[in-house]
Amino acid sequence: MKPILIRGARVVDPSVGRDEVADILLEGGVVRGVGRGLGAPDGAAVLDAAGLVAAPGLVDLHVHFREPGREDVETIATGARAAAAGGFTSVCAMPNTDPVTDNQAAVGFIVSQARRAGFARVYPIGAVSLGQKGEQMAEFGELIAAGAVAVSDDGKAVATAHLMRTALEYALTFGIPVIDHCEDVTLSHGGAMHEGVTSTRLGLKGIPRSAEDVIVARDITLTELTGGHVHFAHVSTAGAVRMIREAKARGLLVTAEATPHHLTLTDAACEGYDTNAKMNPPLREPRDLAALRAGLADGTIDCVATDHAPHHYDAKEAEFDNAPFGVVGLETALGLAVTELVEPGILSLPALIERMATRPAQIVHLPAGTLAPGAPADVVVFDPAAEWTVEPARFFSKSRNTPFAGRRLRGLVRWTVVGGRLAHTLGDPPDAPDRSTA
């Protein structure tokens, strides 16, 4: 592996409070140093990054890679390739695959597929309950020994208050968060979008904010009871933001993420029955969007996570009721964040990097999100001013289900380095070698 010298970038590393023009030397798979006028060792690849931003590689706590089970829609290799294209160097894969990632062998399979693929690092998240059925707890210790970094029954909420309580308690042994998808299905059952005047007009069954809020309230109460760590996946409501802010003020160990789509769109995107605007939780109203942005700015929402959820175009080419929930997000997240959050002044660029790299890495204890000497050589280099158009046909992901097609964005990834190797260079042809099925 050749050393890499990234020369003359604006280096933004929130983990050490750095924001200055400097060079970064990567050698032996780790960060060797950051400073001005670093010399290039013999044989080093030199990346001229003048005018560009270099930051710790982005970390995504929430992706769905569909392998095993739906390799036609995404594989671990294509997902990891798409991640690298989006500037992500570490992603956490949710366990709602087929079969469910609820045992040591299933976790090991993901780890080995990710290792074969290269590109971004893929960390499995294990299931809370066997088969995600909400009954018997999975063997957290075994899952973690095999490489899992958290547990979740994502796709649905941890089914009962009792199971959530015991999961929070049991997870304390291992120091991992229980990630919850907050949705009371007795309130959301059959719903296709946010419940409000738009769902009323479109005649679509709504999912009320309360479907999320009652589970957030339940989990906060249980965190208080147990001293455990709950991480709230894809927060979508103003009420959830308010409760999380209050819980944090009371010193409870709660963390939260919001998606790029919830931070940029409202339920108006469902007009015309656009199935690419169908996701769970649903896009909500302007006041929820404002609350999420305020929450992200003040740290109530710790991080941005994509909830990258690929689906086959046949599945989305359907009646709104019958289309599956979910959008892809890895390849648009940074551009959306720069364009919609940094440029309007909601977040500074260092704050954005903190919420897309440093903080998510801390939540699941990954050795990432920092360019400190000795840290893994995971770096994203991007042009914050370069304008580009979202063209789904050029995605590295196998799926194209995005509501942002045609959107003009600023913030373009030039290079992504994972473990000291170039995992993505701008202009790479978008036909990812899929070594997992080769």
Partner: protein, 319 residues
Amino acid sequence: MSGALGKDLLGLEYLTADQIRRILDTAEPFKEISERAIKKVPVLRGKTIVNLFFEASTRTRISFEFAEKRLSADTVNVAASGSSVTKGETLVDTARNLEAMRIDMVVMRHMSSGAAKFLADRIESSVINAGDGKHEHPTQGLLDLLTIRDHRPIEGTKVCIVGDVLHSRVARSNIWGLLKLGAEVAVCGPRSLLPLGIEELGVCCFRRVEEAIEWADVLNVLRLQLERMEAGYIPSLREYYRVFGVTVERLEKAPRDLLILHPGPMNRGVEIDSRVADGPHSVILGQVTNGVAVRMAVLYLLAGGNPDLAEAAKGGADR
């Protein structure tokens, strides 16, 4: 094919007041055709129409079929049971196959909101929405408007829609049509059957049917389906009738005579008292008669019908 209405009729939300009036005005001369001994004019001769019903329907399907036949169109009926749909065909494939057969119009009833638009976006033929999920049922809205207009000017009339507004496409089409033509609109029912944010559409809500009756000139009484009780929206049909039933006793207390509409099929003794349904102020059968005329008007206008409609309507079947 595009005329006064554009390619499709997907909902009254998407029409202007002028377009709605145009349809109602066009329906007037078509009423007369149905009174003739030979109920047929050749205005859609050579046009092919598919009636594609993914949900059971008697009244609407028959009404469309009569309208089509009285305009001399060639029609084919497809019901979901026994069709390729039950063999797992997707709506997009159904649409492409219809398109490949070069038909002129599709009349579709479907259980999913937005299905009519989905189809219309994917085929060149005109699509008439005969009810899509909980979204709209525009020809029902139009026939309700025509029926009210037979008795009083719509502008300024107070119309209350009573019952299960939450699941009702009839309610939504009525709300849009009535508001566009200048009526005042209210809804009344248990809050569990009124959709969130309905007031933002410009209607007021009555919690008690007695208040609605005191306010309204017209009641449009919606069918209450047994499934709503099973799904827990209301405790029982018996109690629904006791609290929200449109009864003679309640109507007798009204300060004026109310016009009573019902889109059918009726549940006598659930949402409506038989004595009201069969009473002097009920125009329920008039709605059914108007349904054929309104559908003839929609078919005619979507087919690019001659604005000089009277001429067409006068044309005899003997030509």
